[in-house]
Amino acid sequence: MSKKTSTTAEKKADDSVKSADHGRAPVNARLSNDEKIELYRKMVRIRRFEERSLRAYQGKKIGGFLHLYIGQEAVAVACCSLMGKDDHIITAYRDHGHAMAVGMDTKALMAELYGKATGCSKGKGGSMHYFAPDKNYWGGHGIVGGQIPLGAGLAYGIKYKGLLGAAMAFMGDGAVNQGAVHESYNLAALWKLPVVFVIENNGYSMGTSQARSSSGDLARRAEGYHMDWGQCEGHDVYEVRATMDKFLRAARENSTPSIVEIRTYRYRGHSVADPDNTYRSKDEIEEYRRTKDPIQVFQTILVAEGVLNDAIIAEIDQAARAEADIAADFAEASPYPTAEDIQKDVYWETDNPSERKSQGRLFFE
């Protein structure tokens, strides 16, 4: 297992670091038992929510795309658990895990998938476009890499306002070859923006493996921009927290940008529509699930630590399943937006008519 968490390119990977060592990292050592259980619970809740959403999709309750995060839960949960009040995040279209990790309500999330008016975006965004500005969560973006300049912009805003916060701009391994991503790297380094670019490397950009799409180490490209970088394994909550804590501190305290590649894996296809049988084997999926499932790995650690036991594990699982069912029931029972709602939320001005200053027609037939 390669464990590269250095902030400088020169340091060699330290293969000897074990999960227990990451557990002793200060950011993890200070976690209370309740906080550890909460991290575990969040991962389980995300998985059960997405499994429930998959059933709804198969039952034709959900349209469009559904990009599931199953297998990657430790990444969003660990990263978002480090957020302070002035930290902000933005991500791509595989966004359910991040949304739950920042604390969005699953009823509103499921209702959004169902296209209902009670959805977090009133049924106007769908699976790829979850937002919660009140939780410093800026989406949920559909175009590969298109959100990364916005993430740099969040960091710009944080710095301009003089806040000691950081932005985390998440992308998949397929995004790293987009021009807008490289432009953002350059601007972040040039302007010393407090941003951590997080590459969630699940090995495949849709059906194209990393080897077939990207030349060189993904995070090492930071060196070209004189940025710090790191890599870590994404199945271990402790390891992700220990790694990200360093880079986030550097961003907050010294306005130092960085790129962190977190190696992870998705069990499902790129989206639910992906037949997932042309580019990888079932054995590969099973092997990861058997040895590195992030929920199982953390469960084993927490049982060994005496934090979890069978009763708590069962309670958490049951509660997560119940929550997902409640969310689905809520979504099912909710109304769709109306035809009149189509032209709402387009302009700030038309949604705030008493404060409108412009004149003339804003909508056309």
Binding site: W138, G146, L154, G157, Y160, N186, W348, S358, G360
Partner: protein, 325 residues
């Protein structure tokens, strides 16, 4: 009334808004140390410092996206595109992100960004640098599009744009930067979405905007002198929102319409106008709606021929006489 150039008018609007609101930031290529590629931002760095007046690398997708992201946090960035033609390399940031983020978030986010710069032909820089994308931009619900023709309008409209909570795309014209005009003293605001009758007349309505307003005014003088025709000129000033009421009121008076636009004709701003006029004022029309646009080809380089490709007073005159025939 004091007289200023179009360039100075924009600079004054920027300076006044920078003064008024600490969240306003000017950002773009060569805007600070170089004093602006067209000297629009001259002196702003000295007055407001590098935190407010920010030079960017040649990286439109990157820095426009940074502006969009910062605007979500309440910064009010005024981004300069050296040419609006470069919008194509930042298309995703402008028209997927800025235009859509409010809608896709169910109204939770707004994006108070202004993107400004010149969008015109007529300077012999070839097809890549001569785009007039107001129709493309205005095709995206969620955005506002402004094309000012005079110094006073440029100042008053830019101040409105910077205070607006929706993304506003402000299309200037390099050929107009040196034009001078009177600007009212003190706080001068022109609301978005309000057309201006630049010339009153009775026989023909010319609906136009941007530099074509000046060609139309020149043609109107010739029409009056040589053909005894009285032309009314409606300057739209803002493409979206659109003041169609002022257009329709003029049509009800003259019963004949010529649209003049520095646009390629297919699916242009004029196409939309013609649809709306026939739909809402069919009974007022004594002749088919006519249109004079840029000749339908990529912008030609050859200097004397480019003049003929674009609207110009003689082409407007000819089209007006056709409309009156």
């Amino acid at each position: 009334m004091p007289v200023f150039s179009y360039r100075e008018a924009i600079r004054h609007a920027l300076a006044e808004e920078l003064e008024r609101d600490q969240n306003v930031v000017v950002m773009g290529e060569e805007v600070a140390q170089f004093n602006g590629a067209y000297k629009v931002t001259e002196g702003l760095l000295a007055k407001f410092g590098p935190q407010r007046i920010v030079d960017t690398p040649i990286s439109e997708a990157g820095f426009i996206g940074v502006g969009v992201g910062a605007s979500m946090l309440g910064i009010r960035p005024v981004m300069e595109l050296m040419f609006w033609s470069f919008y194509s390399v930042a298309f995703d940031q402008i028209l997927n992100n800025a235009a859509n983020v409010r809608y896709m978030s169910g109204g939770l986010i707004n994006c108070p960004i202004v993107i400004r710069g010149p969008a015109n032909g007529g300077t012999n820089v070839g097809a890549t640098h001569s785009h007039t994308p107001e129709n493309v931009l205005a095709n995206h619900p969620g955005v506002k599009v402004v094309v000012p023709s005079t110094p006073a309008d440029a100042k008053g409209l830019l101040k409105s744009a910077i205070r607006d909570n929706d993304p506003v795309f402000f299309l200037e014209n390099t050929i107009l930067y040196g034009d001078k005009g009177e600007i009212p003293e003190g706080e001068h605001i022109v609301p978005l979405g309000k057309a201006d009758v630049k010339r009153v007349g009775t026989d023909l309505t010319i609906v136009t905007y941007g530099r074509s307003v000046h060609h139309s005014l020149r043609a109107a003088e010739l029409l009056e002198k040589e053909h005894d025709v009285s032309v009314e000129i409606v300057d739209l000033r803002t493409i979206r929102p659109l003041d169609i009421d002022t257009v329709l009121a003029s049509v009800a008076k003259t019963h004949r319409v010529l649209i003049v636009e520095e646009q390629k004709p297919f699916a242009s701003v004029g196409s939309q106008l013609a649809f709306m006029i026939q739909k809402e004022a069919f009974d007022e029309l004594d002749a088919p709606i006519n249109r004079l646009a840029t000749i339908d080809a990529p912008a030609i380089y050859s200097p004397p021929v480019e003049v003929e490709q674009l609207p110009n007073p003689q082409r407007v005159l000819k089209a007006a006489l056709e409309t009156l025939a």
